[in-house]
């Protein structure tokens, strides 16, 4: 396992029906986006202790907050766009694993009963 894969698993351990980070596309996704995440990756990887511990990763976050935050955005984005992870969300919540379009969701009709209270109020705009 690469140092990056080990870090990804500390960040996103597999539980609650979700895969661990290294079992998804995260590492490969980051590898083709080095223009955006390369500098952060380099900073964080260089600072990581060996062996890797949760406390050690937390210390790197405290020492390099901007680089860590940027890398974490990349890790979360890759993870939560992975089809396996989206399948896990669908199983847990019913949220569709597919993209929002073209299916979308049903557009329920507007229920006019909801405006009973605000419709009964006096005008509140100032006439000028």
């Amino acid at each position: 396992m690469t140092k990056l894969a080990a870090l990804i698993d500390v960040l996103l351990p597999g539980d609650e029906g979700f895969p661990s980070g290294s079992a998804t596309k995260v590492e490969a996704w980051l590898a083709v986006r080095l223009d955006r995440f390369g500098a952060a990756l380099e900073t964080v990887l260089a600072a990581l202790p060996d062996p890797l511990t949760v406390a050690g990763v937390a210390a790197v976050e405290a020492a390099h907050p901007a680089a860590f935050a940027s890398l974490l955005t990349g890790v979360y984005t890759a993870y939560y766009t992975d089809p396996v992870v989206r399948g896990a969300i669908e199983r847990a919540t019913g949220y569709s694993a597919g993209p929002p379009q073209p299916k979308g969701y049903e557009l329920p009709p507007f229920d006019p009963a909801v405006i009973a209270a605000p419709a009964s109020r006096a005008p509140s705009w100032r006439k000028v």
Partner: protein
Amino acid sequence: MTAGRGDTVDCLIVGAGAAGAAFAWRLASAGIAVTCLEQGDWADYSALPSLGNDWEAARQSTHHPSSNIRRKRCDPPIDDADAAIKPLMYNGVGGSTIHWGAHFPRFRPSDFRVRTLDGVADDWPIRYEDLAPYYEENDAIVGVAGLAGDPGNPPRSPRQMAPVPLGGGGARMAAAFDRLGWRWWPADMAINTATHGEGRSVCNNCGPCDLGCPTKARSSADVTYWPMALKSGARLITGASVFRIETDSRGLATGVAYFDRDGSVHRVKASIIVLAANGVGTARLLLLSDIANRSGLVGRRLMHHPTGLVTGVFAERLDDYKGPFAASILCQEFYETDPGRPFKRGFQMQCVRADGPVGTACGGYLPRVPWGHGHHRAFLETFAHTTSLTVTTEDLPEEINRVTLSPTLKDRFGVPAAKTTYRVGPNAQAILDFGLERATEAFAAADASRVERVPLIAPAGFHLLGTARMGGDPDSSVINADCVAHDVPNLLVVDGSVFVTAAALNPTSTIQAIALRAADRLIADRHNRRAV
């Protein structure tokens, strides 16, 4: 389509966004030959991010509303290092409506009279009644989902379509507002909840309107006014970055110079030039051309509407990832000045929906979900369990908030970029502080289990207003009530730059109403001249 060197046109518009589109249609349908130059391109509806699983990744990069992050070839950079609020926009046919949430409120009558009523800033030289017929006409063209009868606003004609459904979060917050006795109303939204307009279908409630709407249910200007304008004979040239307005010795505008995509310079002569390049682009162009600035106000009085955000987490599911992200209800309980409050004017709360999985994990509405053990549990407790209220404040104009030319940053043609300088003024800060408290109170009334605040959203410069203000006095305003530059009688400005004050709500229905009115005044002026 290209314009060759030495082209001469009757009316030339710069910018094909919300205002430029409406103006072009009105003139073209009156038989006036109109050409519009737009630095960007048409949006490609076959490749919108919401059709793919990576849609939330696109939101962070290729489809981010900041041109500095998107960095397409047609996006001039903006120096916003000294701005507490970062300007957002889209450069292309439809302008920033390509990204917009399609909230479509009107200004209230008091918004045009803040000096007289509240002793702050300046009155507009036009009144609500001057714009009312144009609001109506614009609504009919764009198509508004909503409900007439809001006691908080002047009467208006029946909306074209039924309101956007409230959704889980909207229903929760509506009930909370009722409990508190606060006024709220379904928002006017420029979104089709029924068929309206040619080639546009009905909203399928998918959520991320900001990434472009494959059904064309959301009314960006490229799917509303532009098809009508082109049919009426308007000409639209894309990939044309205007960098100078040219003038003659009498001070009249004679035409513009622009770079095409390849960097070749073209010149177009025109009898009338109309700027619709938004509150940043128009100011940049006027400053680059060093015209229409006797008042010294070009670029000054930039207004954005400082916005805070409060999010409630609920034990039960709201499923607010469904539905137009900027909808569905608004609360204007605290909109008008109240002498008992420590500020003038007020704010609007807008109930907005929730993020998808990536946005939930990375944070935005809520703080980022912590990494490590417990991550997935925390994710599941927040995803689909939140709804938010924005607090959008009146932004009184200040001359120190401004657009200038960057001394260092240039676009890809070597032309100085715009620089924005912006701070949140004391009145807006007081409104924000008060508004965040009220939004928090609303979430308590809604029984939220957790409430989080973002005191000021920095990347929320959605509204670009005030940088070429309208007024009667050439020494204290840039254009007159008909949008004609005091100093250059054949130059008009019709975009958000013209705003005298900002109100406390989304500006685009007012921008388009002003553009339609300005077009009518121009047409009438031409008829009168011919009749003489």
